[in-house]
Amino acid sequence: MMQIIVQGLLLSGLYALIAMGFMLIFSIGRTLNLAYGAYIMVGGYMYFWLSQQLGMPQVIGFLGAVSVGALIGLLKHRLIVKPLKGDAVAVEIATLILALITQFALVLIFGDASKILLPLIPGVVTVAGAQVTYNILAATVMSWIIILALYAFVRGTHTGRAMQAVSMDEKGAAISGIDPDRINMITWGISGALGAAGGVFFASYTQLSPQMWLAPVIISVAIVIVGGIGSIIGTLIVAHIIGFLEITVVAVLAPELRGVLTMVLIIGVLIMRPQGLFGREEH
């Protein structure tokens, strides 16, 4: 029982981090950014390349991954989202294709075999009778630090509040002197950085493979939609629901069913309650 709670908390923190970056974009442009998977992949592989293949310190690997993620986010906003402004379907398809191109490129560079990331911090600790590796503990703690920092940023700073304003009403925000373009750009950058950071942790939790992006993307999209667009708290709650669901299924039923129930839950909620559980009213 304790094992389930501890594991669930750890996995949920990770999901929450990955979903956060996605939530920012979705709440601003209502864009289903499927290339979010590209950040996850690139983040994981960048970290792998810098810290394991080049043997640099882990901090540099992590910073490298995050900055490349942010860079891709900015480029994507510049090259894809802005030119296709307003055409949601075209953006969706373009981002899907971008994610696949990233996947192909990574296969060409690193090969198709999955890679194991060395743990961020080696060692095992026993928390309340449950065996927990330092690695996943570190990942979760870092995720929470990043999430809290993001919350403080969105609530406390001028730029963060401007982001909220743009996500609620772009015209209104523009009238009150906010440059929506600039805010959009910043959001894409932050989202890319969050995705890449999530990718590093996710890869160290499971493993690094060119196919690793799809499931986390679907899960994070679902967390965001179910949690309600633009709601950080809702995202957190739903991330915990899904995290605990997966851990419980693995522990109680069968490990193979792990993804199955998650997908069923996602499909069910999307059909029954497309506006999400905790979201604000959409017009």
Binding site: V89, E92, I93, V107, D112, I218, I225, I271
Partner: protein, 302 residues
């Protein structure tokens, strides 16, 4: 769409060229062409569902996979003859189409795309778990009975099937029904406002699309000789279908002036897809599929 004589001449030339192809090109190229034909069928099916009605489906491999798996299970596990298993596969896939239809009655846009993507992912995870004695898990079902011998016969079968489906889709889209489906993609509310039942129209589009996907999927499975979950319920297949549709210029958001010609669409899908695969993309792709582990399907094609 206005039909002019030169359309027929062009199409006559195209069909003649397609039928002459085995005399002109090598066996290996022919296998690529076979894949292009199946891809064109999948693309036509996707187009009826998504390109027309505007409900972008990211889960089309779900329908193709149902068709492929149904015929695979029936022939290998229950010893059905191919003549019976393929029609059954089509019918079963149409039920699958109803599953995709359900969310489309309530949600649209990004939400629908996401649900279909989730349905595909669900299927990928479900197939190895449910009744592994039937589906053989992640290894998939192999040694399906072949319909044809040799690349040439397989090619003629694929081309014939593709032309038949293309003709059917083209005729269908010329009817008032096709126009109504088109109108749903433009503005669903005003279609409802003019007294048409959008539910009925959508069910029709989804069923036709599913039937074509099931038919093409079943034949495709027999052509490959094997189905694995990874090779069918795969984003790459979806990617190829969508790219084929985009290059074909049928999808309404690219270019409305091209949008009216189903003919043009099919031709371009086929030829450009093949051309792409032969050139840089082909190199890229062959690298990719050769390196992929459980991509038995692609490997057996090469």
């Amino acid at each position: 769409m206005d039909l002019r004589p030169h359309h027929f001449i062009l199409w006559g030339l195209f069909i003649a060229a397609m039928l002459l192809m085995p005399e002109l090109v090598s066996k290996g190229t022919l296998r690529t062409m076979i894949f292009a034909c199946y891809l064109a069928m999948f693309a036509i099916s996707w187009d009826i569902l998504s390109g027309r009605t505007g409900y972008i489906s990211f889960g089309h491999p779900f329908l193709i996979g149902i068709g492929a798996y149904t015929t695979a299970i029936l022939t290998r596990r229950y010893g059905f003859p191919v003549e019976a298993s393929i029609p059954i596969a089509v019918v079963v896939t149409m039920f699958g189409g109803l599953i995709v239809l359900l969310p489309a009655l309530r949600i649209k846009g990004s939400y629908f795309a996401l649900v279909t993507l989730a349905v595909m992912e669900l299927m990928l995870q479900l197939i190895p778990v449910v009744r592994p004695d039937l589906t053989a898990g992640t290894r998939g079902i192999s040694r399906l009975p072949a319909l044809t011998r040799g690349a040439e016969d397989g090619y003629y079968l694929a081309v014939g099937l593709m032309l038949a489906i293309a003709l059917f889709a083209w005729l269908l889209m010329r009817t008032r029904l096709g126009t109504a489906l088109w109108a749903i993609g433009m503005n669903e509310e005003s279609v409802r406002g003019s007294g048409l039942s959008t539910t009925r129209l959508k069910s029709f589009a989804f069923l036709v699309s599913a039937a074509i996907a099931g038919l093409a999927g079943a034949f495709y499975a027999h052509h490959l000789g094997a189905v694995t979950p990874r090779s069918i319920f795969d984003v790459n297949l979806l990617f190829q279908i969508i790219v084929a549709c985009l290059l074909g210029g049928q999808a309404p958001f690219l270019d409305p002036s091209l949008a009216h010609s189903s003919w043009c669409f099919c031709w371009r899908t086929c030829v450009r897809q093949s051309a792409l695969r032969w050139s840089s993309y082909g190199h890229f792709w062959s690298q990719f599929s050769l390196r992929s582990r459980d991509r038995a399907g692609s490997l057996s094609m090469r």
